[in-house]
C-alpha cells in the first residue's frame, strides 16, 4: 500500500522488515532520520531481538557490525560523507572478510569545505573497497534496493551499499509502497553465513596472508563482483515478481531508440534528465538517457549493449576526481573502448548545487553544436573562480579560499543559482 512518507522513514521501514539482528550507527546528517526511526523500532521491540548499538564513531559502527556479521547476525548501518571516510578502514576490512553487511549511504559532499548537501563524492571515494554499490533514483527504488541488497549480499557473502541522495531523497516526501512483512519474508530468507564464530566449530577469521596467497584471496573478492553481475538481475527479477515492480536492473535506458546522444547518470538526477530528454525530443533532438543502477560491479557489458548505437554519451556525475576529472566518465570510456562513441564529462551538482533541467538542456545542445570542454563544469561561476585566482596571484597571503569565495557569492544560505 502506498503511503506519503519521507524517504528516510520508508528506508527504516524496509530495513526493519528485512529483520536485521544488529544495527550499529553514529548520527550524521542527512542519515539521521533513518537511524532514529530504527532506534525507535528496536527500542519498541518491533524488530524481534534486534540489538541497536549507540556507538562512539562510524569506525566503531562498522567495526561492531564486522563482529556481529562474523557471529552470523544480519547487520545494518547507515552513514554518509565524513562518516564513510571515518570508517574507511573498516569498509575495506568488511569486504575483505566477506561479511554481507548492508549500509545505506545518504550521499553527501566531502570536506573541506564542510558541506552537508548532496553529491556522490563519499560513495565514489570508497567505490573500490569491495562493496556492491546500488544507486537509487527515487524513494521507491531506495526501498526495494534494500531488500535486494540484503539478498544479493548474503548470497555472495559480500557487503553492499545502497546509495541514496542525501536530502534530495532522504528528506523528500513521496508516495512509496513499503512491502508488507510477509512479502519481504517470502523474498528474503534468514541469513545463513558461510563462516561463523562458533565455540562448537572454532575457526580463525581474519588470519594474516602473505604474498603467497593474497592475490588469490583478492581475486576471489573480484570474482564475487563478477558473479554479482548475474545475481543482481536474477534476484531483482525475483523481487519484481514478489513486489510487483521492476528492480535490479544494472542499466536502465530511457527513450534510447535512435538516440544519437545518451545522457548517463547515477541516482536521483535521472528524474530531471528524463524531463530534459522529453523536452529535447519534443524539439526534435535525438537524445536518450541511461541510468546506472549499479556502480560496483561496473556493468560494462550491459552498458555497452545499451548505448552501442549512439554517437555521444554525456556523463553527468556528482563527483570530481581532483587532478583528473570524471570518475564515472573514465569508467564509461573504458566500457565503450573500441566503439566510435565520444564520451563527455559533465561535473554537476557538487555540494548540493541544483542541477536544473534548463542547464542540462543547454549543455546537451552545446555538445551537439560545438562539443564540450573536458571536463565540463555545469553552472560553475567562472567569474568568481577567476577573480579568486587573480587575487591569489597578486598576494601570497591571500587567506582562506572558502571565505574569499563566500565574499563573492554572498553568505551561506543565499540563492544558489
Amino acid at each position: 500500500m502506498k503511503q506519503q512518507i519521507e524517504g528516510s522513514q520508508a528506508i527504516a521501514q524496509i530495513v526493519a522488515r528485512c529483520r536485521p539482528e544488529v544495527i550499529a550507527a553514529y548520527p550524521i546528517s542527512p542519515q539521521t532520520h533513518i537511524v532514529e526511526a530504527l532506534a525507535r523500532l528496536v527500542k519498541a521491540g518491533e524488530i524481534g531481538r534486534c540489538q541497536y548499538l549507540n556507538v562512539e564513531s562510524e569506525f566503531a559502527a562498522l567495526s561492531a557490525l564486522i563482529g556481529a556479521s562474523a557471529t552470523g547476525a544480519r547487520a545494518y548501518t547507515a552513514t554518509t560523507s565524513q562518516g564513510l571516510l571515518f570508517m574507511a578502514e573498516a569498509v575495506y576490512n568488511a569486504a575483505g572478510l566477506g561479511l554481507p553487511i548492508v549500509m545505506t549511504i545518504a550521499n553527501r559532499a566531502l570536506g573541506a569545505p564542510i558541506n552537508i548537501w548532496n553529491d556522490h563524492s563519499d560513495s565514489m571515494a570508497l567505490r573500490d573497497a569491495g562493496w556492491i554499490q546500488f544507486y537509487a533514483e527515487d524513494n521507491q527504488e531506495a526501498v526495494d534496493l534494500h531488500a535486494l541488497a540484503f539478498r544479493v549480499a548474503e548470497e555472495l557473502s559480500c557487503p553492499a551499499m545502497v546509495c541514496v541522495d542525501g536530502y534530495v531523497l532522504t528528506h523528500a516526501y513521496e508516495p512509496v509502497d513499503v512491502p508488507e512483512q510477509a512479502d519481504v519474508d517470502a523474498y528474503l530468507p534468514p541469513y545463513e553465513p558461510v563462516q561463523v564464530l562458533d565455540p562448537d566449530d572454532p575457526v580463525t577469521i581474519g588470519a594474516m596472508v602473505g604474498p603467497e596467497a593474497y592475490a588469490e584471496v583478492r581475486y576471489l573478492m573480484h570474482h564475487k563482483h563478477i558473479k554479482a553481475l548475474e545475481a543482481i538481475p536474477r534476484l531483482g527479477t525475483e523481487l519484481s515478481e514478489q513486489f510487483g515492480r521492476p528492480s535490479g536492473r544494472l542499466v536502465d535506458p530511457y527513450r534510447i531508440e535512435e538516440a544519437d546522444t545518451v545522457i548517463l547518470a547515477l541516482g536521483s538526477v535521472n528524474g530531471t534528465i528524463k524531463d530534459a530528454v522529453d523536452d529535447l525530443r519534443d524539439e526534435g533532438w535525438p537524445v536518450g538517457a541511461v541510468k546506472l543502477g549499479v556502480y560496483r560491479p561496473f556493468p560494462a557489458h550491459a552498458l555497452r549493449r545499451v548505448v552501442q548505437d549512439a554517437k555521444r554519451v554525456i556523463v553527468v556525475e556528482k563527483d570530481l576526481a581532483i587532478g583528473h576529472g570524471g570518475i564515472v566518465s573514465s569508467e564509461v570510456k573504458m566500457a565503450l573502448k573500441g566503439l566510435p562513441i565520444v564520451v563527455e564529462t559533465v561535473i554537476a551538482g557538487l555540494g548540493g548545487r541544483p542541477i536544473p533541467k534548463a542547464s542540462i538542456v543547454r549543455t546537451v545542445k552545446a555538445a551537439f553544436l560545438e562539443g564540450l570542454e573536458e571536463p565540463h563544469f555545469l553552472d560553475l561561476k567562472w567569474e568568481v573562480v577567476n577573480k579568486e585566482l587573480r587575487r591569489q596571484e597578486e598576494r601570497r597571503r591571500s587567506g582562506p579560499t572558502a571565505a574569499n569565495i563566500l565574499r563573492e557569492t554572498g553568505p551561506f544560505g543565499v540563492r544558489v543559482l
Binding site: R49, A60, I66, A73, G206
Partner: protein
C-alpha cells in the same frame, strides 16, 4: 574459583607449590583438561611475555565459561605470531579485524550473541598496548561506556613491538624506543607523559578492572576467572615483558615482571565500579634500579656517571604508587 590465601612454606622464594592449594584453586594450566586455547607452535619470540599472558588468560577464561568463548584480537604481535593460516594457533573461535577496532568488534559479537539468544557464549577482546592505549582507545572507551558484555584484556609490553619497538602511550619514562632514542640531553621517553588506562577504565564506573602480571600467573588466572563471572564491561591490564623491545634476557621475563611489581612500578590491584577493592602487597620492596638494570632500554641511565636524577624521578613514581595503593600495608595483603 575464589582466591585462596596461602602461606609460603619455603623461605627465600616467591613461588608456592600448586599442591598446597585446594583442588578447586589449582592453576588452570596445571590441569589435564586445560584447553591450550593458544596452542604450541606459534611464532612468538623466545621469552615472550604476551604469549605467556595470553595462554594463561584465555585458558582461564575458557574454564570459567565452560569453553563457550569467542575471542576478538586487535592487530599486533599476538595476532601476527598466532594466526598465519593454516598454522593458526587458536583452538577457539577467533576473529581479527583491524588494529584500532577490537573493542567495537567485540561489542558487535556480544550484540549478535544477545540477538540470537546465545548469551551463554561470552566474548573476550584482546590487544597490545598500542591497540588499547592508543589507536583503539576510542572504541575501548565506547565499549566501557555502553557497559557491553565484553572482557577486554590489554597485554602491555609498553611499546609498539610488532612494528619494531616504537613509543606508545604506555612507554615508561626514560625508556629507549626507536622513536624515543637514547640520544641528546634527555635520552629516552620524556618524563611526565603517557596514560594510565586501568585508572581511566575505572573512571567509566565499569563493574571490574584489574591489573595483572605474568610474574603472578595464579593471580592472573584468578582475575580472569573472576572477570568472566561478571557481566558488563570488564578490563584486565596485564604487564608482559618483551625481551626484544626491552632488551632483556629472554630467560628473565618473569624476573623482570616481578621486579616491576616489587619495586612498585606496576601495582597489582582490583577495582569494582570505580573503587579499588584489593591489591597485592609488595613482599620485599626493591629499589627501581633492580628493575631498570635488567633492561637494555634503560642502559643509558647507568652510564658513567649514572643519571641519578632520572632514577630518582622513576623511584618517585614507584613510591607514589606504593603510597596510592597501600602496597606496603599488611591489611588486604594477598598472595603472601
Amino acid at each position: 574459583m575464589h582466591y585462596q590465601r596461602v602461606k609460603y612454606y619455603q623461605t627465600g622464594t616467591f613461588t608456592v607449590g600448586n599442591r598446597l592449594l585446594d583442588e578447586s584453586n589449582r592453576t588452570v594450566q596445571a590441569r589435564m583438561d586445560r584447553t591450550n586455547s593458544l596452542n604450541s607452535g606459534h611464532r612468538a619470540c623466545q621469552g615472550c611475555g604476551e604469549a605467556l599472558g595470553a595462554r594463561y588468560a584465555i585458558d582461564a577464561a575458557m574454564r570459567a565459561v565452560d569453553n563457550q568463548l569467542v575471542a576478538v584480537n586487535a592487530t599486533g604481535c599476538l595476532e601476527v605470531f598466532s594466526s598465519p593460516y593454516p598454522e593458526s594457533a587458536w583452538q577457539i573461535p577467533w576473529l581479527h579485524s583491524l588494529f584500532g577496532n577490537a573493542p567495537a568488534v567485540a561489542s558487535g559479537v556480544a550484540a549478535a550473541l544477545r540477538a540470537k539468544g546465545k548469551d551463554h557464549i561470552r566474548v573476550v577482546g584482546q590487544g597490545g598496548d598500542g591497540a588499547t592505549v592508543d589507536i583503539g582507545f576510542g572504541c575501548l572507551s565506547g565499549m566501557f561506556e555502553r557497559n557491553d558484555d565484553v572482557l577486554y584484556i590489554c597485554y602491555d609490553n609498553e611499546a609498539y613491538m610488532n612494528t619494531g619497538v616504537q613509543r606508545s602511550g604506555s612507554t615508561p619514562p626514560r625508556a629507549w624506543t626507536n622513536t624515543t632514542p637514547a640520544v641528546g640531553p634527555s635520552p629516552g621517553n620524556p618524563m611526565g607523559v603517557g596514560k594510565n588506562v586501568p585508572r581511566i577504565a575505572m573512571a567509566h564506573g565499569i563493574p571490574y578492572v584489574a591489573t595483572a602480571s605474568v610474574a603472578d600467573l595464579h593471580d592472573l588466572e584468578a582475575k580472569v576467572f573472576k572477570a568472566m563471572g561478571i557481566h558488563g564491561a570488564r578490563y584486565i591490564h596485564i604487564h608482559v615483558p618483551c625481551p626484544l623491545g626491552w632488551k632483556s634476557d629472554p630467560a628473565h621475563t618473569i624476573k623482570v615482571a616481578r621486579m616491576a611489581i616489587e619495586s612498585g612500578l606496576f601495582p597489582l590491584f582490583e577495582a569494582e565500579y570505580g573503587r579499588v577493592t584489593d591489591r597485592t602487597s609488595i613482599r620485599r620492596k626493591v629499589p627501581v634500579e633492580r628493575y631498570l638494570e635488567l633492561q637494555g632500554r634503560f642502559a643509558h641511565l647507568f652510564g658513567d656517571p649514572p643519571d641519578t636524577e632520572a632514577i630518582r624521578a622513576i623511584q618517585a613514581i614507584a613510591d607514589a604508587n606504593i603510597d596510592m595503593y597501600g602496597l606496603l600495608s599488611e591489611e588486604g595483603q594477598r598472595g603472601t
